[in-house]
């Protein structure tokens, strides 16, 4: 398809700018002025609308396709949340910081406070901040809070953060951004972080251990309380990566188990749209002594029941401009409020049921490296298909031809040829059955006609793209 710039016709006008009702001012000096106008496209509004409408049709999305992308929780994003999330579009955040301004923005302040209390109850933490703008940003914020805690105690010898080898790449990257060196602990044959090796790695130079539970294999680690206790004994803190929280709503609360810091991905568990890769939102929750190190500012309830914005002097400072991605927070608040206690418990129960059904029906054809009851997602391996020269990417591309967004492939890194399927609770048995049939068909084709899988996809606007060429050419904007 043409680029919008290639549709441009010199002299064609787009949206009209309002006429001026003030006198023309003296121009800026030559040195400060732009030499020529920005080379933006010159298209009519209809050209524009057609271009982006047609571009949108080149996407798979939750609203058009089953999207069982493991670890991403691609559940349905209800339409009511879009309606109510946009109600605050005209509210300027600086208003809250003006003298007398907070009384004008009690609605959004009460929503932030309300969401923080909901998330604290759901995760078992004492206090929550909504400031981090995405999951990885929450991780970095959480580790900065942990660093501040150690530093305030004069404990300056801690320079390591422990992560399991199955962790999301963001965990070690976030800890590194907060200034720590990384110790990676391998996965044991039973699918969880090797407990003995972890014990050996833990010492008084470790600041924290970061854990995802259920882990990236979709398995619940029954030793998490022990892992927390081992860390605490050595004076280290424990970080819970909430990426997989969708599995345990109402069943387990990380705070009860002994985790000190947690982040929550509102765009996963709490149903805010993924937006083609963002905006997300990654609030963090903390317990006990850590509360004082949360970023500034805090939304606090006043004695009269209203809400105020307070500086948080002992905190780690500011990690984003205002209170977080408010429009996303409003959608998550609406989701939690609308589902309520029973609705949230049902979410996890149905998510786990769907994943186990998927696992049960596919394990005859696909290798299941860890054959046990899974939580919200299951991880297969295409090693049997590899005997026929077919890789997980080939299965993935065939699914595209059959109208399904592929599962996550090649993650987690500790499973060879991984295929990670997360159906989520919002998919019906019938949708999953249709997907399963195509997965089984792909396994059959791997044996009988592997070429068909290598060719896939053939139904999309483009076939497999040459990624090496892209990396070499580094063509990242048009001339």
């Amino acid at each position: 398809m043409e680029l919008i710039f290639e549709r441009s016709v010199s002299g064609r006008a787009g949206v009209r700018v309002p006429l001026s009702d003030v006198p023309k001012a003296a121009p800026l000096s030559e040195a400060l002025r732009r030499q020529e106008p920005v080379r933006l496209p010159e298209v009519s509004e209809l050209d524009l609308v057609r271009h982006y409408t047609n571009l949108s049709r080149r996407n798979f999305s939750v609203d058009t396709n089953f999207y069982p992308l493991g670890s991403c929780t691609m559940k349905y994003n209800s339409k009511i949340n879009e309606n109510v999330g946009g109600l605050f579009a005209g509210c300027h955040p600086v208003l809250a910081l003006l003298p007398g301004g907070e009384n004008l923005v009690q609605g959004p302040l009460s929503l932030i406070h309300g969401l923080e209390r909901q998330l604290a109850e759901i995760t078992g933490m004492d206090e929550v901040t909504t400031q981090p703008l995405a999951g990885a940003h929450g991780e970095m914020t959480g580790i900065m809070v942990i660093a501040a805690y150690h530093k305030a105690r004069g404990d300056n010898k801690r320079k390591y953060v422990i992560v399991p080898d199955s962790s999301h790449g963001t965990n070690p990257a976030s800890a590194a951004m907060a200034g720590y060196e990384i110790v990676t602990v391998p996965t044991a044959p039973y699918g969880d972080m090797d407990l003995d090796l972890y014990r050996q790695a833990m010492n008084e130079e470790v600041a924290a251990v970061m854990l995802t539970c259920p882990n990236t294999l979709g398995l619940f680690n029954p030793h998490i309380a022990e892992i927390c206790a081992i860390a605490h004994e050595a004076g280290a803190l424990t970080y819970y990566d909430g990426a997989n929280l969708n599995a345990i709503l109402g069943k387990v609360r990380p705070g009860d188990v002994g985790f000190d810091v947690i982040h929550v991905n509102l765009h996963k568990t709490f149903s805010t749209p993924h937006g083609g890769g963002g905006p997300g939102s990654g609030p963090i929750g903390v317990r006990g002594d850590l509360v004082r190190y949360l970023p500034t500012p805090r939304v606090v309830r006043r004695e009269d029941g209203g809400f105020t914005v307070e500086d948080h002097p002992e905190g780690i400072g500011r990690v984003s401009d205002f209170f977080g991605n408010f429009g996303i927070m409003a959608r998550a608040y609406a989701y939690i409020t609308m589902l309520g206690r029973e609705g949230l418990i049902e979410v996890s129960e149905q998510a786990v049921l769907n994943a186990n059904y998927m696992m049960a029906r596919l394990k005859e054809e696909y290798e299941l490296p860890f054959d046990q009851t899974c939580m919200h997602e299951c991880v297969f391996s295409a090693v049997r298909q590899m005997e026929h020269g077919v890789h997980s990417i080939d299965v993935a591309k065939y699914l595209v031809d059959r109208g399904f967004h592929p599962p996550t492939v090649y993650f987690p890194l500790n499973v060879k040829e991984a295929i990670m399927i997360e159906p989520t609770e919002t998919e019906s048995r019938q949708t999953m059955d249709a997907f399963i049939e195509v997965m089984l068909e792909a396994a059959r084709l791997a044996r009988e006609n592997p070429e068909r899988l290598h060719e896939a996809p053939v139904t999309t606007p483009v076939g497999r793209l040459d990624e090496t060429r892209a990396a070499r050419a580094q063509q990242v904007c048009c001339e």
Partner: protein
């Protein structure tokens, strides 16, 4: 309730396939001692009840206040097409384009976005967006440390104070230093900034228009930085780029900024997007996602995520950043906004902002006792000095439904009487005239 479609029959049959007696049995791998001690949330609501509840909250959000406030976030007009196109569910319910063949919509849009950012900033390579303006400045600072292998940045205190707080927070953990250079009056102290650059400096970070509203010329500063093999990082306001010289024209090595003003509503602080663009030789040091052009086996043009070996899912702790997502949907809005206005409209919009602010400047500076602190060139913001504490004045005028500006005492010591005023194209002449009257009343009656 939770949009869960399976019927009791479905559930029974699925459990039979799994070989489990009940749904609860599927949670038996969780030891009893680890079960939730509480889950005290109220019962759910219907759509109707929720809508009422949310409308109540939204009624108390100050949306009817006339804003002469900016300070990094601006109340600009958004063409209707932006909302409609960005509301296509194929865009907003998709995720990261990991499978490019079924994500060409998002990928091509991001490529067009990157091209737009390069054209706006006068740079050669943009990523697919960052979280927001503040974290973009911080990521640019980190990028300069990587490129130069040095540990110090010089931070002009005329840069947005919220952004500076984020930069110092990000650098703190990495044992890197941000040396702040205080402004001279209400403008960057360019002489002291130049004098501060030495062989240890990774980058100088400046902003134009700066936090007081000054449009600045950084050409000499760029030259001085480059003499010491340091980088010049310029934070910019994209709407202003319709009129003022771009960071590229000024000799910047990295251009960053808050993208909100491009088609994203103020929405109580987010979601917005940050942008970052640089010279092509630094492309491998960019954080976050980058979309690149390529072809398929039939030589058809297509787009993919590229140079991913910089990123956390491959490099883990050695990645250029921990960022995993971008702000795709907000960046898409920015792209559609720019394309909707087009070459001519974008320039006209910038001029309109400039003219309105110049008019407001003359009206407000002629109020008795009020003086102009930003005496040089400005875009759509300027700083006034009032005869009394600006906070009190703002509070008094706010009672009349007008947010007169941002008092600067909160951010700069000794500037308790300074007021930062913003005038976008949305402020009418009548509103500006009324502000002048309200200011006079607040000061003298």
């Amino acid at each position: 309730m939770g949009y869960c479609p399976n019927t009791p029959d479905d559930i029974r049959e699925m459990l039979a396939v799994i070989g489990a007696g009940s749904v609860e049995e599927l949670f038996s791998s969780i030891p009893a001692g680890l079960r939730a001690k509480s889950f005290d949330l109220p019962p759910g609501m219907s759509e109707l009840e929720l809508t009422r509840h949310m409308k109540e909250k939204a009624a108390a959000c100050g949306a009817d206040v006339v804003p002469f406030i900016g300070g990094g976030i601006y109340d600009h007009f958004i063409p209707a097409a932006v909302d409609h196109l960005a509301s296509r569910a194929e865009f907003y319910t998709a995720y990261t384009p990991y499978q490019p063949e079924c994500a060409q919509g998002t990928l091509q849009a991001l490529y067009e976005y990157q091209s737009t950012i390069c054209r706006l900033t006068g740079m050669e390579a943009s990523n697919a967006s960052l979280y927001d303006g503040g974290t973009a400045v911080a990521e640019a600072a980190l990028m300069s440390l990587r490129i130069t292998e040095r540990h110090k940045v010089i931070l002009d205190a005329s840069v947005n104070p919220l952004h500076r707080e984020i930069v110092t927070g990000y650098l703190h953990g990495l044992s890197a230093e941000a040396v702040q250079v205080e402004p001279k009056g209400c403008a960057s102290d360019l002489d002291r900034l130049m004098a501060a650059i030495d062989g240890e400096t990774a980058a100088v970070i400046v902003q134009s228009p700066d936090f007081f509203g000054n449009v600045q010329d950084f050409r000499d500063l760029a030259q001085k930085a480059h003499e010491h093999e340091a980088l010049l990082i310029v934070s910019c306001y994209p709407i202003a780029l319709g009129l003022v010289a771009s960071p590229g024209e000024m000799g910047a090595d990295i251009a960053v900024g808050e993208g909100q003003s491009l088609g994203n509503p103020v929405s109580f602080g987010g979601p917005y997007f940050g942008f970052i663009a640089t010279r092509k030789r630094f492309i491998r040091n960019l954080p976050g996602r980058i979309v690149g052009e390529t072809i398929d086996h039939q030589a058809r043009r297509g787009f993919v995520l590229t140079l991913q070996a910089r990123e956390q899912h491959i490099k883990r702790h050695k990645a250029t950043s921990n960022i995993c997502s971008n702000q795709s949907l907000c960046a898409l809005r920015g792209l559609i906004f720019c394309a909707a206005l087009g070459k001519k409209g974008f320039e006209e919009l910038a001029l309109l902002n400039y003219d309105k602010a110049q008019y407001a400047k003359s009206q407000l500076a002629s109020v008795k006792g009020v003086d102009l602190l930003t005496r040089g060139a400005t875009f759509n913001e300027f700083t006034l000095s009032l005869p009394t504490d600006a906070s009190e004045v703002v509070q008094r005028i706010l009672e009349k439904g007008v947010a007169a500006g941002v008092p600067l005492g909160r951010y700069y010591q000794g500037m308790e009487k300074a007021l930062l005023v913003t005038v976008t194209e949305k402020r009418s002449k009548d509103e500006i005239d009324r502000l002048a009257v309200l200011l006079e009343e607040a000061l003298w009656s």
